[in-house]
Amino acid sequence: MNDNTAIRVENLSKSFGDGDSFIEVIKDASFTINRGELVALIAPSGGGKTTLLMMIGCVEEPVSGQIWIGNEKVFDNKWLTKETRKIRREKIGFIFQAHYLIPFLNIINNLLLLPQANKTDKKTAKAKARELLKYFDIADKEKAMPSQLSGGQNQRVAIARALINDPRIILADEPTAALDMQRSVDVVKILKKIALEQEVAIVMVTHDERMLPYCDRIMKIEDKAIIFK
């Protein structure tokens, strides 16, 4: 493993239920994703995309295997820390189908929530938030409420939120599902750009094959196994 590794997974398995209701979703999955990569994750519905995303994101506990986030081993047949939420807060950014901004916080406060939880210096956090808003061309909207912004603008704020704590990984769960073609392409281009510029590994779940050409690699879940295209 080198310094460029963002995610490393070895022999990861996940199943649900037992007896007649036993379902194995992922079996012995092993892969590495490097910083600066935009990886598309595809699979049929119910194929385990979200489950895999949640396991990498330290939300869902795998049955067995190992997971590294950067150089830190976080799972070895069990979580190696009780504070998986701290790992998420410090090392992982999330982007969802919808923007899922906190509706009662204005744009800048939506961005400042995580730095506050991480006890980051307020001035530094604010400067970083403003820099991100400027980067996404929504600097003039910092006092606006999410309800006052368009869908595309809100999705850009959501991406900015995912970047606020300089994460090693961004996990994006169908970030273009609610957008039209042009906006979808814009968002994926932005993700590609930030993957390179911020040296972040981005795993993007998508159903839209038109987005695949913009990705560096395509990871497909087929018969419980991971195949790279």
Partner: protein, 381 residues
Amino acid sequence: MIHLAKEDVKHILGKFIVTAMGVGMLLGIVLIMMGVYRGMIVDAEVLLKDLNADLWIVQQGTLGPFAEASRVHEDLQYTIQSLQGIDKTCAITFQNIQLPKKNGKVRVFAVGYDVYGDINPVNPARLVQGRTLTTDHYEIVVTDKTGFSLHDKIKLGRNTYTVVGITHGSVSSGGDLLVYISLKDAQELQFSYSNKRIQTDRARGIINKDTHMVNAIIAKVKSGYSVAKIAGNIRKWYHKNVYTRKQQRTVLTRYVVEKASKQIGMFTAILIIVATIIISLIIYTMTLEKMKEISIMKLIGLPNIMIVRMIVEETLLLGILAFIFGNIFSHIIYSKFPKRVVLEIPDAWMLFGVVIAASILASFVGVKKVINADPASAIGG
């Protein structure tokens, strides 16, 4: 520093205030209930304080006229007066009567006293118009809430009475409006029957109806004498029950007001429980409405303490706002109640403590929901 509770409340300010007002009205009723109880205690003592008697001599084996029927002979006052250490005495009657008015009747509590005696039950501080009684017959002093004016004529029994004085704030231990009449008039109203009744009684062999009865003799003790010792002597030699001022107060609060106060206490406790349940339900609903956001907050890594703090602070804010609205509401409506309502600051502080405790208790339902929220539910739509 982002204050999640403050920002959320700002976002739903109108709804939050209306909710707090609703709960506040409930708390206002709790305050009114407490005020009704305090009012009963104050009312119970008005007459006791106005009479300012050291001793109450009543029928043997009874608790006295405030608690049950008591009859003693009127001339007992002269016997009591002759005892060493007694300064003043007065024979006194109490009875509920209905004063006829144009649009119905007013229930009042009539105090009958010896106009020429040593003790005048009409507290001069309460007399706002006219004068006290000066003759033995057909004069009446009424309290202002009866609606009568000075010089009004009131037909009672066979006779017509003239209003000669108006008092303010005079009520009986039961909260009925007080009027004052002479002892002779009171005895006539209480013990004299119609001609037809007298004829019937005679036919039944009932004769010599003694109308020279009173309900109690009150006495004041000269300074330097022991009230308890004199009371003991009367009990021993004259076979009467005697109550000191303190004992009479106990009779009123323990035997007369106690059940009513328990009743009010029960209502108050139930209302507080209902308010707690309502606050819990509101917080639960408010938390449910935010479950998606809470799951997202948990998923992106916010610690539970930040989210729990938001729920607890919102609940406390709701409780405090409801308490303020409750106070405003109770102060607006308390004077509209027919009986005395006394709103006391210590009661309000006590309710404040209960509201804070109830709010913390109520927030548990929301907190439990937060702790159990699955961050994974934020993913996948």
